[in-house]
Symmetry: D3
Subunit: 310 residues, 6 copies
Amino acid sequence: MIDKTHLHQVYLNGKLLPRDQAMISVFDSAVMLGDTVTESTRTFNGVPFKLDAHIDRLYKSLKITRINPGMTAAEMKALTLQVLASNAHLLAEGEDCWIVHNISRGQSVAGADPTVQRSPATVIIFTSPMILTDWAGFYTEGCHAVTPPSRAMPSQALDARIKNRSRMAYTLAEIEVKLVDPKAQGILLDMNGNIAENKGGNFFVVENGVLKTPLTSNALAGISRATILELAQTLHIPLRECDLQPYDVYTADEAFFTSTPYCIMPATRFNGLPVGDGMVGPITRRLLAAWGALVGVDIVVQAQKQLLPD
Amino acid sequence: MIDKTHLHQVYLNGKLLPRDQAMISVFDSAVMLGDTVTESTRTFNGVPFKLDAHIDRLYKSLKITRINPGMTAAEMKALTLQVLASNAHLLAEGEDCWIVHNISRGQSVAGADPTVQRSPATVIIFTSPMILTDWAGFYTEGCHAVTPPSRAMPSQALDARIKNRSRMAYTLAEIEVKLVDPKAQGILLDMNGNIAENKGGNFFVVENGVLKTPLTSNALAGISRATILELAQTLHIPLRECDLQPYDVYTADEAFFTSTPYCIMPATRFNGLPVGDGMVGPITRRLLAAWGALVGVDIVVQAQKQLLPD
Amino acid sequence: MIDKTHLHQVYLNGKLLPRDQAMISVFDSAVMLGDTVTESTRTFNGVPFKLDAHIDRLYKSLKITRINPGMTAAEMKALTLQVLASNAHLLAEGEDCWIVHNISRGQSVAGADPTVQRSPATVIIFTSPMILTDWAGFYTEGCHAVTPPSRAMPSQALDARIKNRSRMAYTLAEIEVKLVDPKAQGILLDMNGNIAENKGGNFFVVENGVLKTPLTSNALAGISRATILELAQTLHIPLRECDLQPYDVYTADEAFFTSTPYCIMPATRFNGLPVGDGMVGPITRRLLAAWGALVGVDIVVQAQKQLLPD
Amino acid sequence: MIDKTHLHQVYLNGKLLPRDQAMISVFDSAVMLGDTVTESTRTFNGVPFKLDAHIDRLYKSLKITRINPGMTAAEMKALTLQVLASNAHLLAEGEDCWIVHNISRGQSVAGADPTVQRSPATVIIFTSPMILTDWAGFYTEGCHAVTPPSRAMPSQALDARIKNRSRMAYTLAEIEVKLVDPKAQGILLDMNGNIAENKGGNFFVVENGVLKTPLTSNALAGISRATILELAQTLHIPLRECDLQPYDVYTADEAFFTSTPYCIMPATRFNGLPVGDGMVGPITRRLLAAWGALVGVDIVVQAQKQLLPD
Amino acid sequence: MIDKTHLHQVYLNGKLLPRDQAMISVFDSAVMLGDTVTESTRTFNGVPFKLDAHIDRLYKSLKITRINPGMTAAEMKALTLQVLASNAHLLAEGEDCWIVHNISRGQSVAGADPTVQRSPATVIIFTSPMILTDWAGFYTEGCHAVTPPSRAMPSQALDARIKNRSRMAYTLAEIEVKLVDPKAQGILLDMNGNIAENKGGNFFVVENGVLKTPLTSNALAGISRATILELAQTLHIPLRECDLQPYDVYTADEAFFTSTPYCIMPATRFNGLPVGDGMVGPITRRLLAAWGALVGVDIVVQAQKQLLPD
Amino acid sequence: MIDKTHLHQVYLNGKLLPRDQAMISVFDSAVMLGDTVTESTRTFNGVPFKLDAHIDRLYKSLKITRINPGMTAAEMKALTLQVLASNAHLLAEGEDCWIVHNISRGQSVAGADPTVQRSPATVIIFTSPMILTDWAGFYTEGCHAVTPPSRAMPSQALDARIKNRSRMAYTLAEIEVKLVDPKAQGILLDMNGNIAENKGGNFFVVENGVLKTPLTSNALAGISRATILELAQTLHIPLRECDLQPYDVYTADEAFFTSTPYCIMPATRFNGLPVGDGMVGPITRRLLAAWGALVGVDIVVQAQKQLLPD
């Protein structure tokens, strides 16, 4: 795969710009306060997956944070499709891309009330080739899931469902996770020791044929998560949203993460022990296949192609 | 006062730039992840106040976040003084300025491990005229302190002492505060209902001649806070670091915030009720005077001058 | 409406008394200790709504508090109906009333064991015209729901399901709510930041056609709440009892409170933002209509009539 | 002792009334909402002990609850002394009495905003002979302290320092305590398992000569408690305010409660085990003696006289 | 019944030994660290009940604790049946027995890393006559359930589902329970005041015909508990797994414990008050009968026979 | 060093036995319930260090657990010295040993009330050569301190000050620690994210010349910890007992563990980062030297001698 990332143009406040010209002021509230809401969508066969759901969630985040993006959800959607169209020619046959929205409150003034929006919002929309090389091996081998000592932010401090770019807590927890294994993927626990979420995804276990995942009280209401709930219904896999503890992962038959880029990432080890028999399990594989069928892409094959030498 | 903010040059990754050219990539981890540690120092009579302490705390934040700034603390200090020197001529007689450090992990790659630093850190140092117009009236009138329903982030999610730019939680809490009074200043409570901190400062009460402030378990270890502890010792004002609850504020004789720009901001109302007799109290005034004496600036006069018509 | 409240006779310890003669000793445990359990029932077309359920819950509260009311539940019910009958002539056509039970442990002795019942219980039963003028406007406009910083009492301190008259915590929280908006209605959060209850009612949201309400772990097991659960089943509105956070209200399509006097009170704003499109929603209106049909009263019309000039 | 309680006149809203005529409306917010703040003072040799401190704390409670008592603290004090003077002749030589203040928000209206004060406050001041028969034996034998399973109300629900008459939670916890031993005295734990307070008093332990008591974060800031702190300083007994757990009581050398009526009540058993050697300890006895000296009354003798046959 | 307990041979590390020769070193990690996982199975008509489920749970505990038992689950099962067969002749007609597994990490070395297994595990399997004399009376009278002040261990300290022999916390809580009533059976609450579990069993209530029991987040995932879930389904008794508080027990119609030895133990009192009408309820009796039918043993008759004189 | 461990005789219930004959029944409550309290003392120059303090703490543990050891504290001490004397000849010049007490409630009966002591307690006292090879290198290199995701048991579940042998939770947390580094030493956090304790020791940091250690609310009240408090006073090192969080360790100048066998174990890394300059610090070294002076043993030399080839 030839990396054309640098050729993708970036939408920034009304203009499409070459990637290296997409710059914002160091005084933007994005930089000064992490005051940015965000979405990450991906395409399958070049078509954005559940774009409406992503735009809808983006506008929920904008509402709660009181950031006025300066356009309606419909306009945002149309604009998003334009940005995608502008870069579509850069994707080779069978390649897909991310579409990322970052919207900040705009100009920040040192010492002034941070809740006031002083300028039009900073609206950034960009596409990126879907580079999955870090994850592609996990589809067949599974990854190592690890719980860090730090805890997920409680909703009464900051609700994880407001998808935002103030991610310091997640990054520090992930640093703790990497102490155990540099390739490990983190599972944050909440203040009560229940499983919350990954820094960018949700988590599921399979136990005795039942799919289980935490509620979204302390986790992002992931669109990939919602896709699994739909697929499970279609496939008649019983599903339960409930509190889970590490015990449930240690004793699960299967486990996996979900997130926009990789869809499903099997976890075959947990805190140093195998999950189930240590192999990617049949329900995980059925869900991966069903997702692929839904979008017309063999998700695993597409990702693993990236591991091949050009 | 003629606002010369726009004339201050900004240090960015090795260069001094005009303010409107100080731009960073929208792919910087500052923007993508709020992955920035920070300090805000101010000058008195043009001399940075406790610069060593600020640099020291900055390097603590860098250490814990594993951001390599590419220079030693001594080099950072020298550089800071250079930036200040470059802009010093813009300050009129009797004017002071902020010095702000923002240091991010540098380049971010979508979907890649966020804990890895892939490029030199992004190092931003800028000065700004010390505009205190929003606060200047509070030195004599006192402000209205208000507790929002959201809670301060617990240290097991993200320790407030790591001074950083992932501030979404603080901004949302401040929005709640402004629902009560658009000029109110927030006091965040921790998960147990104890007083934690303001979005950018610490909080003190005076009760029966004793100065009390929360421990730094759930609050920034403020350098202004430390200055108050020193001044209290000098002035023989008894001091106690302990858990405080709203009851302590409702029944206090005096209360104030501390932060780098305003040093001390008296609070004369709390959740709609007067603090003490509703006037700025004598111990608060003694502390303000002592601080002024320490730095050779009449803090109140300097700030209130900004309220005058030019 | 001519206010005849003062003409309603009050049952007190075996006697029906004019309202201004219904007095109890300042040494009663109701006054000395807030040691009173209570129920509030209302009539529709003069008939008490779910009186058995109210009496049943009253006897649960009496049991746990170990207050002996001196009569069986059946006797209490018969007595209640007598009190209602005595005052029924005071209600104009189409008017309804409250029926309130307050039962305290009786005589209190300073310094003596408060758990011992030293005298017959103090039994108070009174009716009051159903004055809804504070709420009547909300049926069509919706109210403003606000979360205070104080938290609902946890069940391990005092279970909210024991309906009682030790209401100081609720009153103080409501004072905080009124700081935001003097007409706002409070939504208390529990210790974990989940939505608990209003000072006198329960809370529901509608999201994507699904009705959601908190469990009763930290909230009164409201009889109005139970009525909504029944109506939802009848109307085939899917319902989910689960933890809810402020995010769920910010992003809901509709929201409402339930309580005995007003049955359903739509909330169209939450912490300063509109709920849904800021209008009373269709599911809320269907539920109001269904409730009205159940009891043969147009609840909205009856209440709004009180807003008209006589 | 001849009980003359019934002869003490009661101040109620401007009048001195015979005890059995001191009645309030069942619609008073004291009855309807437990919306009453309170103080209990006692006399020594007929002189109220620390009356200023009690009045001061009463006005703190009034302030936070936003109840307007209709008079200044000085007027309240003068009035209190008048009430006491009116009843002073009823006290035999060497007898003392309580002075209790109960102040409610006044008239309550069903369904109306409980935070609005609609009438003058209901002001009740009464005296009562200091009947200590339930406690008198404990001065020499010590009592049995027991922890109930229910927890003290956390300050973020209702701060225990607001001395009020919404006491249902305390009464229910005391019922649990009496299951272990009908004469046991309760020690409430807070939400973290730390010792909070007794339903009407504070708690101390002595360990290796050091007096220890919890902070007032989750406990009444008792005036008796403050008296112990002063006496300890006078007697050079080292003192520490800190979190205490049941372990500290099990392993203490001595333990005691403090409260207005009994001043100090030794606890010689805790959850069924002896405290120290199971006898009232020397530091407890020194404190009792010092308190007696301070007020010119042999506290133990005075109380135990009540146990004698007339 | 003639007690033949002493005749039962004990399996210990490869040998069947007379009971009084079944000894382990005082340096075994079972003694030094309570480092033992365990199962307790019982027979009905001499056949182990759900032995596979017990062995499966044992291997889950072994996995999480990283104890290598030195044999597969299948081998463990075969061995268990051998031990049972060896002692089967000691059971009289109609008598049943326990089968207990205790497996420790083996040899412990003072001061050395306790996580390393230095020797083969210590494997103990023993049978014991099913002596139910302490419980037999409860089948018809019901027991007294009591909540202690100590709390159940939270899963983030030690997950209750890892069935183990570090039981000090349970024993201390049970001591507190016995202060109320020497025959009381404890119900531990979790950190939030929800009902968790008994020291060796789970807890159920029946309310309005619905069977309710806590989730296993803070409780053993009991095999008897699972049996009730199955029986409830068979008998069409609606069932709900949810948080329960003491209020739910006070107001329940019926309540019972479940555990391996007694299967179902009705609770007819709770903290001094009757549960329902204070008698063993109809759903409890149906479940007991159904369980008996499932295993071909009249559970109540078998147990109560032990109360008869020989 | 020639390991003579196997030659040390063990006291067990009245007899001194060869080590391999020191066996207890698998039905002892030590095995069945981890129902054992314990102490570990060490000698310096053959003299037990603070034996009185250890015996005193042992009797506190016995009291709370209601285990009757069958002898007084004085008898226990005399017996301990006898056991030591019996094995003293096995220690070479300059060698020291542990003295361990393990006392269980004795015989356990399956299914019977675990709170009843049915037999004399099982009393085990043994000595062991002080093998420090695992730790000796840390005196000069420092160890790696790591926080596991599991949390320390809260005192309301089981107070850490009751030194006992139900250690499963500590062992599982230590397993998590070893995932990061097989030689790491764990620092357990409490439920609020504060530093609690090591599985067998306490923890200190040095910051700006001040020694800080957590209170004993969630940690063993270590006798080594107390020794540090005494030494700090002697050496005029300022000391503060307060809540500490991981931030305090990351930013400390020095850090160390304390425990009976090694006295002081410097920690020079914390979660992968150096503590201070990554070297054993001067205050740590002063304390080690002072401790050595106190007991007349060069603690470091004695331990490191064990690392030499014989």
